[in-house]
Symmetry: C2
Subunit: 116 residues, 2 copies
């Protein structure tokens, strides 16, 4: 299940931040590299570090995650992210709005030959 089309960047752009934050929330904590792997496994492949790390910085700057650096036992250190209460609020609001939005768009795109 990895014949994924590699979605257009404008689509990724629309949902990247919420998807990343949801990953952080689902695991109680996570770090950039792991998030990249997770997104790929969940149907959003081809998203690299140069895309994800800036998003994490923005999320932290907006107070939606906190970060903590930990030395690695084997391998390089990792910066672990945890969701904040504000992050949880924003995530649920954004997810709800996204569902509403996609419903309206789907209504537009699926009116095959229907009259106005």
């Amino acid at each position: 299940m990895s014949d994924d089309p590699k979605w257009p960047s404008d689509w990724i752009r629309a949902v990247l931040a919420p998807c990343i934050l949801q990953q952080v929330q689902t695991r109680n904590e996570s770090y950039g590299y792991q998030i990249v792997q997770d997104l790929g496994a969940r149907g959003l492949p081809g998203i690299g570090g140069g895309t994800v790390y800036p998003v994490l910085n923005r999320l932290e700057a907006d107070g939606r995650v906190r970060s903590e650096w930990r030395e690695g036992h084997g391998g390089p250190g990792r910066k672990f992210y945890t969701i904040t209460p504000q992050g949880e609020t924003w995530l649920s609001e954004t997810s709800g709005a996204w569902q509403e939005f996609t419903a309206r768009v789907a209504a537009i795109l699926t009116m095959e030959g229907n009259p106005a």
Copy 2:
């Protein structure tokens, strides 16, 4: 039914071109100003001419619509757009991919507390 939230531009960006093309297809022909009205009526308000007209130009440059200028009986002239066969192909492909994409995103965003 016009208490619409005015969606973030990154979301609009993701779907504007297909939505506009679908409008052109549904009416057999349409013009920029009418498309703006239609989108507003269908749940995508706040999209102005400065957004729609460049999209129509791109669609035409890519061969997905043809345009024809007509003088107005009362009021200014209008540039009517018609969908091309390539446009129809692209629209159906893009719509399908969009449905697939939103399904995967929804799967990510709705895993409330589910394990990985």
